[in-house]
Assembly symmetry: C2
C-alpha cells in the first residue's frame, strides 16, 4: 500500500496516522504544545531539514491542525498555531510521553515532568471510560463495525 492511500482506509487510526503518522509530525506538534510557533524555532529545536519542515507545516495547515497567524506586516511574517483539532491531539501526546516516561527513561527518572495546574500535582493521565468511570484496560475493549462501516470493510477482530 502507498502512504497516500492510508487516509481512505476504513479505520480511524489509519486515517489519523495519514496526518500525524510520519517521522516528524508528532514532534512538530509536541513543540507546538511547548509554545513553539515560528519556523526558525521549530528548526532549531527539532534539527529537521528545512524543506521537510516546510512541507510538514504545510501539510498540517492544509489538514486544519495548525493555522497561520500573522504576527507582523511589512515584511509579512506568520506563525503556526494549533487549532482545536490540533489541541485535541493533546491526549495522544501525553499518553505517548507517559509511555516514554515508563519505558524509556534512565535511572534518574523522566527528563520532563508535566504538572496539572488545577491540582498542582505531577500529572498522571489516566484513561477512563466516560460511561462507567472505570479505568480502561486493553482486554476489556472489543471492536465492531460502526455506523460508517462500508460493506467492503472486513469486520475487525478482537484481542
Amino acid at each position: 500500500m502507498r502512504w497516500e492511500d492510508l487516509g481512505r482506509e476504513p479505520c480511524s487510526i489509519a486515517r489519523a496516522l495519514s496526518i500525524v503518522g510520519d517521522r516528524w509530525t508528532l514532534l512538530v506538534i509536541r513543540d507546538c504544545f511547548s509554545g513553539v510557533r515560528r519556523f526558525e524555532e521549530f528548526e532549531a529545536r527539532l534539527g529537521i531539514a528545512r524543506h521537510v519542515l516546510a512541507e510538514r507545516l504545510k501539510k498540517l495547515t492544509d489538514a486544519g491542525v495548525l493555522v497561520r497567524v500573522a504576527y507582523q506586516e511589512r515584511p509579512r511574517r506568520e506563525e503556526y498555531c494549533l487549532t482545536e483539532k490540533g489541541r485535541d491531539l493533546h491526549p495522544v501526546i501525553v499518553m505517548l510521553a507517559q509511555w516514554g516516561d515508563r519505558y524509556m527513561a534512565g535511572e534518574d527518572g523522566p527528563p520532563v515532568e508535566r504538572v496539572h495546574e488545577l491540582c498542582g500535582k505531577v500529572l498522571q493521565m489516566q484513561p477512563i471510560c466516560s460511561e462507567c468511570g472505570e479505568p480502561v484496560a486493553a482486554r476489556d475493549v472489543t471492536m465492531r463495525p460502526g455506523p460508517g462501516a462500508e460493506a467492503r470493510a472486513l469486520p475487525p477482530r478482537n484481542v
Copy 2:
C-alpha cells in the same frame, strides 16, 4: 538530526517516537490489538512490503514491545505477541482512534466502534488526572525539568 539519534533526546515523547514513530509501526501495533499475530496476516491486512514488515517486527521485538512465541515446531513457526510494554500503548492507540473518529470520519460516523465490555457501552476514553480526578485540558498542563533532566537539556517551555 538523524532519526537514530532521537532515542537519546532528553524527551520521553522523542524517545517513544524513536520506537513507534515511523510510517508503519503504529499500524502494526493496531493490528496486534486486533489479534493479528502472524507475518502473513500482518502483510495481508497492512499491504506493507514484506521486507519493511520484517524489519519493523524485528525492531519491535528488539525493543521489547513484541515477543516471538512458538506455536509449532518442525518447522518452527513463531507468532508475534504484545508484551506488557506493548499493551501499555493501548491508550495511545485508542486516543488516536478517537481523534480520527472525530475529525476524519465521513458523514455516517466512524467505521469502527470500540465497546467497553465492563459496562457494555461504546467506549469514550477520557483522560483524567489521577490525582484530582478532573478531565485534563491542554491549557492546564505545564512542563518543567524532571528528575532525569540533564544539565545540557534546555528547560521546556509552556503553552
